[in-house]
């Protein structure tokens, strides 16, 4: 019995799934209609859909962040990149249309990623410091683009990106699913996943084994910049405007949290994009639950801290073996 219990506790992803189910159950307890779904104007509505929809920006950030963290890096600039991309998309959408606005926004994200990757991979600056530069400067750049105002737009196709639906599913959720499939296909369909995990696990040994470790690191920061830009466009589309001061503010921390809750170690190596998504959902399910419960949002931060602690405890091998010992003692 104890060995089965231990194996269960240690199986990958179980802790995260349990945590998500527990939080959803609590959400259901504080808000009885939590699981209710209804169709209106060709789009699904309900608290559950809200969790997915509201969680989309953090989920996108986490998709990029999980690869960066797998190389033993971190990207603090994703919130600022969201603000830049949102500002660009909002400023261009009405005059030039969605394709060009989207391309410009994503192009900016790509450049931001290249900059971070250059600092980390080529100049060898510590990731936390290197990306701090853009975290601070990026918000300034976004404010320059919007000239300090909140830029609004009405271009319907950009609005659709934030508020529309595909077969009843909100567009942001579809975008996240699409990006998850693309990320999964790229890292697991090619050798990229293995080479990233090797680079994060031991960069020096990987270099000697013939892996282009610098190229790997550059690539993950570029991918992270792209994901952040997409998240920025969706966040702007959602509110039909770009607020350079508040768009994506502190979301880099939620993204890092989502990745860590998803079981990817900050020391690099093994990573899981799917579990990072689960991590993002856990965070959003908590946020939504607290809003529904009527408690002041300030509680959110405390509850979040408690949940993080619990999930990390569940992941800890030492805690799992202690649990197994307790289990045996009870028998």
């Amino acid at each position: 019995m104890p060995s089965m219990m231990r194996r269960l506790l240690q199986s990958r992803g179980l802790a995260q799934i349990i945590a998500l189910l527990v939080i959803l159950a609590i959400d259901r307890a504080v808000s009885p209609q939590f699981f209710d779904l209804r169709m209106q104007d060709g789009r699904l509505f309900g608290s559950l859909i809200d969790v997915l929809n509201r969680g989309a920006p953090v989920a996108l950030l986490a998709l990029g962040m999980v690869l960066v963290i797998a190389t033993r890096g971190i990207d603090l600039s994703v919130g600022a990149v969201m603000a830049i991309a949102g500002a660009i998309a909002a400023s261009l959408a009405d005059a030039y249309g969605l394709p060009l606005a989207l391309a410009a926004a994503l192009g900016a994200g790509l450049l931001c990623g290249l900059w971070n990757g250059f600092l980390v991979a080529v100049l060898g600056i510590q990731p936390i410091v290197a990306t701090l530069i853009l975290m601070v400067a990026g918000r300034g750049v976004a404010q320059l683009i919007t000239e300090g105002r909140i830029v609004t737009f009405t271009a319907p196709d950009l609005v659709w990106l934030g508020n529309g639906a595909v077969l009843g599913v909100p567009t942001p959720v579809v975008v996240v699913l699409g990006m998850l499939v693309v990320t999964g296909a790229v890292v697991r369909g090619s050798a990229l996943g293995l080479l990233i995990e090797a680079t994060g696990g031991n960069a020096r040994a990987s270099e000697l084994a013939g892996i282009r470790t610098r190229g790997m690191i550059l690539a993950v920061y570029v991918w992270c910049g792209l994901c952040a830009a997409l998240a920025g466009v969706i966040a702007a589309a959602d509110i039909m405007g770009a607020d350079a001061n508040n768009a994506g503010l502190w979301l880099e921390l939620d993204a890092i949290l989502a990745v860590v809750i998803g079981g990817t170690s900050l020391f690099g190596g093994r990573f899981s994009p799917v579990l990072a998504m689960v991590g993002a959902l856990i965070i959003q399910a908590m946020n939504t639950g607290i809003l529904l419960s009527g408690y002041p949002p300030e509680f959110n931060l405390l509850v979040k801290a408690a949940v993080v602690l619990i999930v990390l405890l569940l992941q800890s091998p030492r805690f799992a073996s202690a649990g197994a010992v307790l289990w045996r003692a009870q028998q």
Partner: protein
């Protein structure tokens, strides 16, 4: 030799000290005696047990067995602090001081002179100036320590230790990053301390310095005490034999078996290959089915040669050719593309990727060589992993086990498998048997012979001369970062290698400039 070589009272006595890490016996019943006023060299190659001995004596590691006596009375030394309190001070190669604080603050950190709870800066500086003057060091003690040379930093560390009433001073490779003039200053300090009755343990791999300053020499090899001698009575060749050799009779018989091979066609050739300040230009030919051994002391340029050959360091002179065609080896990737492989000496930091599985570690180099777009399918990976697990008898035979959980010998086999999977033509093995228990040791040596019979060209580095003699078809001897001699066929035996290593350094300088 200085006058203090007549035996003073025993200051530090170590008896029967043993220490194991897992199955690896790092120290086996080692004795060591340091007398007051003595400068005593502690010598041995990497992995001989010098650091382990120092760490066991200074309380960094607990010891499995053995006693330590200080001035005749047994001491427990349960922690590093206990050792310092008892009067044993250690200064490491990397100075453990705070470079941003002033010299005076470093000297008196944690024991500053105070009045009413405030540090008396002026008094501290006066004391510091006086203390350093005893060592003929006249500097502004208010300046940050980091603004001074490494030699001054070392002397500051020594002064701090001695001022804390140290009776035994252990200097772990203090001269590794010093220039000639700085070494002289440090030696003057050491001699002065010896005349004050302090016992100095000097760890180094510069044999010239040993003969210049030490009264006695203790040699360790493979965690055992090989001997303790008076420096004046120990010829250099005998010292090197103590550090590297084993009993000669044991190895000559083994040599015959390796002899029968005939070298195949030329595989890779390096001419005038070198890098300024790293390794003097050398010529090196690697042939199929041939083992070339690199022999020399620690720091003689063995690993440096391997890194140049593998493209990990870029040569700034000479040319390389593979199968007769000139090639540029600018990076490990270049070398791998031309069929090279390299098992580094530092297996844990440069070889294995501890979190990844045995399977992933094995396929890594092959996958990197094929490129991103051509992933090995899972079934191909499983097939390759199982093939090499069987071929090299990797235990436990579980491809999905993280490699970090395997023993050292099995980790080494996995790294070897990683390169064999790329079907290399040239394999460079840097200390392939380091830190491996006896059984796996013999197996690795057998593997080296088999690989060679299969037509691989091998370049093998080892500090164990009997090992080199056993499997090498040619032996290149290095000294002072230059290739100084090459032995072939009948000429390969331990005494010839020792003679080449010990030959006067002027020959080394000539060859180095050639």
């Amino acid at each position: 030799m200085n006058a203090a070589s007549d035996p003073g009272p025993a200051l530090l006595e170590v008896r029967g000290l043993s220490k194991s890490f897992g199955t690896l016996r790092a120290l086996q019943e080692v004795d060591f005696t340091l007398r007051a006023g003595q400068i005593h060299a502690l010598l041995g190659e990497n992995g001989a047990g010098k650091s382990t001995l120092i760490k066991a004596v200074t309380g960094v590691f607990p010891r499995d067995a053995g006693i330590v006596r200080l001035s005749g009375s047994e001491v427990a030394l349960g922690s590093a602090k206990a050792a310092v309190d008892a009067g044993i001070a250690t200064v490491y190669q990397e100075v453990n001081l705070l470079l941003n604080l002033s010299v005076a603050q470093n000297l008196y950190l944690g024991r500053q002179p105070t009045r009413f709870g405030l540090v008396r800066e002026a008094e501290m500086r006066r004391n510091a100036t006086a203390l350093l003057a005893e060592f003929d060091l006249h500097i502004d003690v208010a300046e940050p320590l980091g603004t001074y040379s490494i030699a001054v930093q070392h002397i500051t560390a020594i002064a701090r230790a001695v001022d804390q009433s140290a009776r035994v001073l252990i200097l772990d490779e203090p001269t590794a990053s010093l220039d000639r003039h700085e070494v002289e200053i440090l030696f003057a300090v050491m001699r002065k301390l010896a005349t004050r009755g302090i016992g100095v343990v000097f760890v180094t791999h510069f044999l010239d310095q040993v003969y210049e300053i030490c009264d006695r020499i203790t040699v360790l090899r493979n965690g055992r005490l090989i001997g303790e001698r008076k420096t004046a009575e120990l010829p250099r060749i005998e010292l090197i034999r103590m550090m590297l050799g084993r009993e000669l009779a044991e190895t000559t018989s083994e040599r015959a078996a390796a002899q029968v091979r005939t070298a195949g066609e030329l595989c890779a050739r390096f001419e005038g290959y070198g890098k300024a300040g790293y390794v003097a230009p050398f010529d090196l030919a690697l042939r199929r089915g041939e083992v070339v051994g690199l022999a020399g002391l620690l720091g003689s340029g063995r690993t440096e040669t391997a890194r140049l050959v593998f493209g990990d360091e870029r040569a700034d002179s000479g040319s390389a050719a593979v199968d007769g065609k000139p090639v540029r080896l600018q990076s490990p990737r270049d070398a791998i593309a031309h069929g090279f492989g390299y098992c580094p000496e530092e297996r844990k930091t440069e070889g294995i990727i501890a979190d990844l599985t045995v399977r992933e570690n094995i396929v890594l180099a092959l996958q990197a060589k094929r490129g991103l777009a051509k992933p090995l399918s899972r079934s191909e990976q499983d097939e390759i992993a199982m093939r090499f697990i069987r071929l090299l008898d990797i235990r436990p035979p579980e491809p999905e086990r993280p490699i970090g959980l395997l023993s050292g010998g099995n980790q080494q086999k996995v790294v070897l498998a990683r390169w064999l999977a790329t079907a290399p033509r040239v394999l460079v093995l840097d200390e392939p048997t380091r830190g491996i228990d006896v059984g796996a040791h013999a197996e690795i040596i057998r593997l080296i012979r088999e690989l060679c019979d299969d037509g691989l060209a091998l370049l093998v580095i080892s500090c164990e001369l009997d090992e080199i003699v056993t499997y090498s078809d040619r032996v290149i001897v290095l000294r002072d970062r230059a290739h100084v001699d090459e032995l072939e066929g009948e000429a390969i035996d331990i005494s010839n290698i020792l003679a080449a290593i010990a030959a006067s350094s002027t020959i080394g300088a000539e060859v180095g400039q050639a």
